[in-house]
Symmetry: C2
Subunit: 139 residues, 2 copies
DNA sequence: ATGTTATTTGCAATGAGCTTGCATTAGTGG
DNA sequence: CCACTAATGCAAGCTCATTGCAAATAACAT
C-alpha cells in the first residue's frame, strides 16, 4: 500500500487541485531548486492558468507538509523550492557569473551537529550549506 | 605603519564621513551580525542623524571594500552585516524561536572545498553555512 | 584658510519578493 | 448531486533593498 501524494495531502485536510497538480508536476520534472517566479514562468510556458499568489500559497503548503524543501542559495536573497520525494539530503553550488546551479551529493555535517549541540547547548534543527563560485564556462 | 580604516577607504577613493564613521562604530561595538534595519535602530538610539538609505549604501560600500561581511542566516530572508577586522572566518546558529544568534568558531569546510572543486570543476568562491535550532531557553 | 571637485547624503520614488483580505470557484465525501 | 470547506484570483499591502537627483560635505590643492 503506497501512499500517493494525494493521500498525503488528504491526510492533512488538503485537496489535490488543478493548480497544485501543476506546481508539483513542474517540481517533479525539474532537477534543480526553483524560485517562485521561475516556477510561475514554467507554468505559463506550459499554458497553465495560475496566479503567482497561488504558486506561493502552494509552495508554502507543500513545504509545511514536508513534501517540498525551501532553501536559500548563498547570497541570492530569495527562496527556492525543491521536491523532496526520492531525493537525498544535499546541498548546492551556484555560479556567481551565470547563476548555474549544481547539486552536491555530500553533507559532512552530522558529526559537526553533535559538536555544536554540545558546545552551544542549542538543539540543532536545520542547517544550510551553500557554495558559490565560478562554473567551468565562466572561469 | 598600520593602515587605518580611513586609509583603506581613501585607497579606494572613498571618504571617511560622519555617517560612515557611525556605521563602522556600531559594527565594531556589536559582536553579532546586524541587519540594516537593526543597525539603523542602533544609530537612532545613539542620536545619529542618518537615513536608512545611507545605511544601506554604506554597508554596500564597506562590503565591496572587503571591510564587512554580508551574510544570510538560515531561512531568515534578509541580509546581515558583520565587521571583518580582527575576526576569524566563522559561522552562526540562530534560535528558531527567539532569534538569538550565537557564533560558531569552527569551519570544517577547507577539505570539502577542494573535493567540490575536483568534482564540479567549479572554482569555489564563498560558502555559507548557517544553522538554526532552539537555544537553551526555548527548548 | 579658502576654493574646487568628486563623493556622499537625504528625500522621494521605485522595484523585487512575498503576504493578506475577501468574494468567488471548485474539490471531496456523503 | 449537495453541502461544506479548501483553494483560487484579484487587488492591495508589506518588508527589504535599490535608484535618481539636487544639495551638502570631505579631501585635496593652492
Amino acid at each position: 500500500m503506497k501512499t500517493t501524494l494525494k493521500d498525503e495531502l488528504r491526510a492533512a485536510g488538503k485537496r489535490m487541485t488543478r493548480t497544485r497538480k501543476a506546481v508539483l508536476s513542474v517540481l517533479e520534472d525539474t532537477k534543480l531548486p526553483l524560485s517562485a517566479t521561475e516556477l510561475f514562468g514554467q507554468l505559463q510556458k506550459a499554458q497553465v492558468a495560475i496566479d503567482l499568489v497561488t504558486v506561493y500559497r502552494n509552495l508554502t503548503a507543500l513545504k509545511e507538509l514536508g513534501l517540498v524543501t525551501q532553501l536559500e542559495l548563498h547570497q541570492e536573497g530569495q527562496f527556492r523550492y525543491e521536491i523532496k520525494e526520492g531525493r537525498e539530503h544535499h546541498h548546492h553550488i551556484r555560479c556567481k557569473t551565470c547563476g548555474r546551479i549544481v547539486d552536491l551529493l555530500l553533507c559532512p555535517l552530522k558529526k559537526l551537529t553533535a559538536l555544536i549541540e554540545r558546545e552551544t547547548r542549542f538543539v540543532v534543527g536545520d542547517h544550510s550549506l551553500e557554495f558559490s563560485g565560478w562554473c567551468p564556462k565562466c572561469q
